[in-house]
């Protein structure tokens, strides 16, 4: 932090970007709405004509939608890691970035949650995914990993949203106390009568610790459960005990990269560099280096085990991924996830905004392709050579993919204009408190 911060300065700085949209911001909203419209149109086409407009080719019935579902669930993980796990470890660098990262988690899971409904085709029946009492006493199969996933994702979304809102309450009170009129009335309702009394802070801190403790195992469990959607199946290239740690590392890797992608422009455009600066981005880059290294090791291990297992089907799918029809997907994945982040080992590149942003984009792309590589190639090249095929996404699927980015970004852009993007109360904890004795000594 460059200049001397006080409690008053922190409140003023963090609330400054709220409510007054610039032309640049409105242009961003316009682009994002266009992306959303593309996605909306494509989904409308699919709802009208059925899943035939997607590129599904027997036996490939999981494609871009499941790839994108896993991608967005993974993105959410970094937010929870930063807000919960690093809170329990009392990591100081999380303070500036955790609010926006947590918002990213909630919006990413909201985006991911659309995809099961899109993927099943008849979206109006998506509520069948949830267990509910019905006339015929029919229940889902709770031994299925797909049901575990329903529980894991819905729990993750609910707990993340509660954690996010509880964290916001003291800051909503700060916004309430700085606004007038209708906006004041709105924030008064949102802050539910928070006034920072000793009673409120005491129970708040206890509850916040519990929420962090619950969110911590969720970081590890949700993507493990997502990985079992694949690993529990007997499909070559999927049926591996390596998947849970491999998926969790990949999720945190992609999520940290997405935090860099989102927060770098936020910090620059909203002049929040005293709160989200090089120090924070460098730590995020180090997180990417750690998890990216685990991921690279996992890629190597799964190839080694496929070879060493002496299972011809298993080995064949790994050879096919690297050299067959999907070689370019594999190459993109390896370049973006294993090679590109290596430049971050150099400190000056970790501290350079251009390279931070560029590499984070590479990682985002690479992590989408990783899921595509796992899903599409394994289904297109199963045990029976007569059933081998080549899955090509249609413009409908790619349009919905673009729309998912629009959906995610519209929420994020609205968030940065109506909610404090930096946790005011927590940043104040990092600032030297105003002390009478210290001021007297200075005089």
């Amino acid at each position: 932090m460059g200049r001397q911060l006080t409690y008053g300065v922190v409140t003023k700085d963090v609330l400054r970007p709220l409510f007054k949209p610039s032309t640049f911001y409105m242009a961003g909203i316009g682009v994002v709405l266009l992306m959303l419209a593309i996605g909306g149109y494509c989904w409308y086409q699919q709802l009208t004509w059925g899943l035939g407009v997607a590129g599904y080719t027997p036996p490939v019935f999981w494609g871009v939608y499941i790839t994108t579902f896993v991608f967005w669930i993974g993105i959410g993980h970094a937010g929870t890691l930063i807000s919960a796990i690093l809170f329990l470890f009392r990591s100081r660098w999380r303070t500036g970035v955790y609010r926006a990262a947590e918002a990213m988690t909630v919006f990413a899971v909201m985006t991911a949650a659309l995809f099961p409904a899109i993927h099943v085709g008849r979206a109006w029946n998506a509520y069948w995914l949830f267990p509910y009492p019905n006339q015929r006493m029919l229940w889902q199969n709770f031994k299925s990993p797909l049901m575990w996933d329903v529980f894991a994702v819905s729990t993750y979304f609910t707990v993340s949203t509660i954690f996010f809102y509880v964290g916001l309450i003291p800051d909503l009170a700060a916004v309430r106390d700085k606004t007038k009129g209708m906006i004041h009335t709105l924030y008064r309702a949102l802050a539910i009568g928070w006034h920072g009394t000793d009673r409120q802070w005491r129970h708040y801190m206890a509850a916040y610790g519990f929420f962090a403790a619950f969110a911590t195992p969720l970081v590890l469990s949700v993507h493990s459960v997502v990985s079992w959607d694949f690993a529990m199946a007997d499909t070559a290239g999927w049926h591996s005990t390596l998947f849970p740690p491999y998926f969790v590392a990949g999720a945190i890797f992609s999520g940290c990269a997405m935090v860099i992608t989102l927060l770098l422009p936020l910090s620059i455009f909203f002049k929040l560099e005293d709160y989200i600066g090089v120090w924070h981005f460098e730590h995020l880059a180090k997180m990417c280096l750690l998890t990216g290294s685990i991921l690279t090791y996992a890629y190597a291990t799964e190839h080694f085990i496929a070879w060493y297992s002496d299972n011809p089907y298993e080995w064949d799918i790994f050879v096919y991924r690297a050299t067959g029809d999907y070689w370019w997907v594999f190459a993109t994945m390896v370049f973006c996830n294993c090679l590109a982040p290596l430049v971050w080992w150099k400190k000056s590149i970790r501290q350079n905004y251009f390279w931070l942003f560029t590499i984070s984009i590479f990682v985002n792309i690479g992590m989408w392709f990783e899921r595509y590589n796992i899903i599409a190639s394994a289904l297109a090249h199963q045990f029976d050579p007569n059933a081998w095929t080549y899955y090509r996404p249609t413009y409908i699927e790619m349009g919905i993919l673009i729309g998912s980015f629009g959906w995610f970004l519209i929420w994020f852009l609205l968030f940065v204009k109506v909610m404090p993007s930096v946790a005011i109360a927590e940043v104040k904890e990092q600032v030297r408190p105003p002390l009478r004795d210290l001021e007297a000594a200075a005089k």
Binding site: F142, M147, F151, F163, W194, D198, W201
Partner: protein, 171 residues
């Protein structure tokens, strides 16, 4: 009876004021201390390490969630038994652990939220107007003492002022 409100610009002044009021025999419930951030000094002075009862809500939620998650899985399987080859159990603990875990976390979170709301007495729209000072969410600290009269009131006023209050008012 009168309500006293003191506003402080410095944390150490606030801490001195709380300590002074405690020496006069006042306890946590007799005063409200406002701060823009959580400070351990305040909590330690007022509650002396007594843990928040929120934890009991959390524990009840976790037990209920875990039990209900497992029960949902087990009873629905027994209610509509599927023929499973190779002697695999109908009620399979490893399979049901995941939903049990998710329900444990979900319900523990719900009840922690309930515990927070109940113990913080939220929504707090009806708190005294002295407590509702916009400075307390920004850069000032405050103490509101209620229910004092006579000599105790004047002594408390003196303690609040001598600790270094920027403002002491009677409500």
């Amino acid at each position: 009876m009168s309500t006293l409100k003191a506003v402080y610009a410095h944390l150490d002044s606030l801490v001195d004021a709380i300590a002074g009021l405690k020496r006069q025999g006042l306890k946590a419930g007799d005063m409200a201390v406002m701060a823009p951030l959580p400070r351990h000094e305040i909590e330690e002075l007022l509650y002396e390490g007594e843990p928040s009862p929120v934890r009991w809500f959390t524990m009840c939620g976790a037990i209920f969630g875990g039990a209900s998650g497992f029960t949902l899985c087990a009873l629905t399987q027994v209610n509509w038994p599927m023929i499973i080859p190779a002697g695999k159990p109908l009620v399979s603990i490893p399979c049901f652990i995941i939903i049990t875990f998710e329900c444990t976390v979900l319900w523990a979170s719900f009840l922690t939220l309930a515990g927070l709301i109940v113990n913080c007495r939220l929504p707090g729209f009806s708190l005294p107007k002295q407590v509702q000072d916009p400075r307390f969410s920004n850069d000032h600290f405050g103490i509101v003492v209620d229910g004092l009269e006579g000599e105790r009131l004047s002594k408390a006023r003196t303690v609040l002022a001598e600790a270094g209050a920027v403002e002491v008012t009677d409500g």
